[in-house]
């Protein structure tokens, strides 16, 4: 009886401690989630009461909206570009920073810095000026006689340039990789060296398998973020040129806040949610075959 009472007391205390988060979750996450689900079946312009239209919004999205298919394609391309590049850079830099050199903490801070400032509107505007035809990037390339490129004006490469802004913010993934690298037992590396393994062999056969949980975590988080990306493309190119960078987030924003079709935008947001959920589940399922946990 005493033990049962003790458990009961603990639960109540725990609930009170986390009540601010619970209230925030209910008001700012669960309520909007359920509200958008409801609105996705309505015609709603924010000002007048929503009018039920059943599955009309979803039907229009899949059969009458060319922008939807374009944005899906652009967003998938963006995810396939930005996520692998970001994780590769993050891992490479983490390996380089995983040394005991004087001043290494300074370099770790420098490489983390873009993650703090990178997502801001100011940096997006700066990106525009860096990559314009007479921008610094082309000026530097001109030194080695490379002709100027319209990094943001050419529909074929604008998406790549916009994705670089996301890749540049690799700091948070890098920090996680660094933590993972530090946890690899040095005995494993030493034993591999004694057995005659070279650096490449050690990297692919020891290091990578040991940090697969971190790779998996970063892959899931960065994929989710990439699908939802908005600020960079919105500020730098407004989805252009010719909708080459018209990410799903921008399309959703335009439908909701420019055209005031909140019901339609809600339907779009739920479709995105289901796509992200599907990809996340696929990644989790696949993790059974390539993620190695020590325990």
């Amino acid at each position: 009886m005493k033990n049962i009472m003790k458990i009961h007391d603990f639960d109540k205390a725990g609930l009170i401690y986390i009540s601010p988060w619970i209230i925030g979750f209910l008001l700012l996450q669960l309520y909007p989630l359920l509200a958008t689900f409801f609105y996705s079946f309505t015609d709603f312009n924010l000002f007048t009461n929503p009018k039920m239209v059943g599955l009309n919004n979803f039907k229009k999205i899949f059969t009458q909206d060319p922008d939807f298919w374009n944005s899906m394609m652009v967003t998938f391309k963006y995810v396939l570009l930005a996520v692998p590049l970001k994780l590769t850079f993050a891992l490479l830099i983490a390996i380089i920073l995983n040394t005991k050199t004087k001043g290494i903490n300074f370099f770790r801070t420098i490489f983390y810095f873009p993650s703090i400032i990178g997502g801001s509107v100011a940096i997006s505007i700066l990106w525009r000026f860096l990559f314009m035809r007479k921008g610094i990037i082309n000026n530097v390339l001109a030194i080695i006689n490379i002709p100027p490129t319209d990094w943001l004006g050419d529909p074929k490469i604008a998406l790549f340039t916009v994705s670089l802004l996301s890749v540049w913010q690799f700091g948070s993934s890098m920090v996680l990789f660094l933590a993972g690298l530090k946890q690899i037992p040095s005995t494993l590396i030493e034993a591999s060296r004694i057995d005659g393994a070279g650096s490449f062999r050690i990297f692919f056969s020891v290091t990578i398998p040991m940090i697969t949980p971190i790779i998996f975590f970063n892959l899931v988080m960065q994929t989710i973020n990439a699908f939802q990306n908005f600020t960079g493309a919105f500020v730098i190119t407004q989805g252009g040129p010719m909708k080459a960078t018209y990410l799903y987030g921008i399309m959703l924003y335009n439908q909701g806040f420019q055209n005031f079709k909140m019901g339609y935008a809600s339907a779009l947001s739920w479709i995105l949610f289901l796509i992200i959920l599907t990809f996340t589940l696929i990644l989790f399922r696949s993790s059974e075959s390539w993620v190695h946990y020590d325990d």
Partner: protein
């Protein structure tokens, strides 16, 4: 007992956290002042002038504080309409007259200013107000300035290309002269225009050829494939003769051509702008450096398509808790001599004759803004139908011009695509 104490302590901590997070915003109740919120968009000179007028009002009305909420143009409309929908809109708002029909159609959201005896509208032209600021006979906004659009040319670029400064700028002469500007230096172009400005100009060309663009009431497109093809063929000559930068270069500054470094460095012969944006274009350069010219009009055109309408309108939120105070400020803003002198022509030549007279008497009517207004009024077109201002209708023309400018559509295909998409959207709306 220990358990109960723990709960009490936790509850107190939680309540304190809640109290701190909800604190604030109590100042007004405590001090019993009236606070009004006033939002507008603009450039630096508009912000400074408006803040000066607010400051003067607050000094003469000590019980009233006006919180200024100002920003640039980008995102202003989306933010404002979201605030209106969410019930958090400011008391006094600057809007475009083009938004009035849309917003008033969504409910009783704006005060009917025509009913207010405490607002003096005698200085405004009745027809101007009834055409642009009224919906169903209700005056929903007070026009700030007379806004028009025109071409502004930069003399140093024209001079160095050997172009006489008294040239009459027609659609044909722009192409001939533009070629000269680019031949003189490959960095130079006659007109600073990307997709949005090309859309404005091409729309005018279509209207001048056909007499109209769309019929909002009957949801019809008013121009033919032939008319649109001619328009696109004309603007093809702009790309072929380097009158404008390639879209791949200018697209980064679409909507804000004055931010293009080539404009700042004096590599453009001119651009299209609104009269209320003249000072932003001049950017400190002397007025003598510029030629103000009408957007060209084809011979025999029934309608020039050139917009002359209120630069902006000031509206009062019908959900405001301080409507009387808001109206009092609006009345002051438009009729008080000190306010008029503080704001001068930051929103174009004032639409109020009272304001224009005060500025003239004090020698404050910016001659450049005044001239720009009279130039654009001289070739004023008919009012646009409201559906022409619909965001989805506008974006159709922009998208087609972009595809055309990037060489994905021929002139004829662009014309057909434009009409097809407009008809499809009109049937939906």
């Amino acid at each position: 007992m220990l358990g109960r104490k723990k709960y009490l302590i936790l509850l107190v901590i939680f309540l304190m956290c809640a109290a701190f997070s909800f604190a604030g915003g109590q100042k007004d109740q405590a001090s019993q002042k009236t606070t009004l919120r006033f939002s507008w968009w603009g450039g630096e000179d508009r912000h400074n002038g408006t803040l000066a007028a607010i400051d003067l009002y607050e000094k003469t009305h000590p019980g009233i504080t006006i919180e200024a909420e100002y920003s640039g143009w980008d995102g202003y409309y989306q933010k404002l309409v979201t605030q209106i929908a969410g019930g958090t809109a400011p008391d006094i708002m600057q809007m475009s007259s083009e938004w009035l029909e849309d917003i008033s159609g969504k409910g009783d959201l704006l005060v009917n200013l025509g009913d207010r005896s405490d607002l003096d509208l005698s200085g405004f032209d009745e027809k101007f107000i009834s055409t642009y600021c009224s919906i169903d006979g209700n005056i929903l906004g007070v026009p700030t300035g007379i806004g028009g659009e025109l071409l502004i040319f930069y003399k140093p670029v024209l001079k160095s290309a050997g172009i006489p400064l008294d040239t009459e700028f027609t659609w044909e002469s722009i192409v001939d002269l533009g070629a000269k500007v680019h031949n003189q230096s490959s960095d130079r172009y006659m007109i600073n225009a990307s997709t949005s400005d090309l859309a404005y100009l091409l729309q005018k060309y279509i209207i001048q050829l056909s007499g109209g663009y769309i019929d909002g009431k009957n949801k019809k497109v008013l121009f033919s494939v032939n008319d649109a093809t001619k328009a696109f063929e004309y603007f093809q000559t702009w790309f072929d003769n380097n009158i404008v930068q390639p879209l791949a270069v200018s697209t980064l500054f679409d909507g804000d051509p004055v931010e293009n470094p080539d404009w700042i460095n004096g590599n453009f012969g001119g651009l299209r702008e609104w009269t209320s944006g003249i000072n932003k274009v001049a950017n400190g350069r002397p007025a003598d450096d510029f030629i103000l010219a009408s957007i060209p009009v084809l011979d025999g055109a029934e309608d020039s398509g050139i917009k002359v309408y209120p630069s902006q309108v000031i509206v009062v939120n019908s959900k405001s808790n301080n409507i009387d105070a808001a109206i009092d400020f609006v009345n002051y803003f438009f009729n008080d001599e000190d306010a008029i002198i503080a704001t001068q022509t930051i929103r174009g030549v004032p639409a109020s004759s009272i304001a224009r007279n005060i500025l003239k008497e004090n020698g404050l009517l910016d001659p450049m803004v005044e001239k720009a207004t009279s130039v654009s009024m001289a070739s004023m077109g008919k009012p646009f139908c409201s559906l022409q201002n619909n965001s989805e209708i506008k974006s159709i023309l922009k998208d087609v011009i972009e595809e055309f400018g990037y060489g994905k559509l021929t002139a004829k295909k662009a014309a057909e695509t434009l009409i097809l998409r407009l008809e499809s959207k009109l049937s939906e709306l």
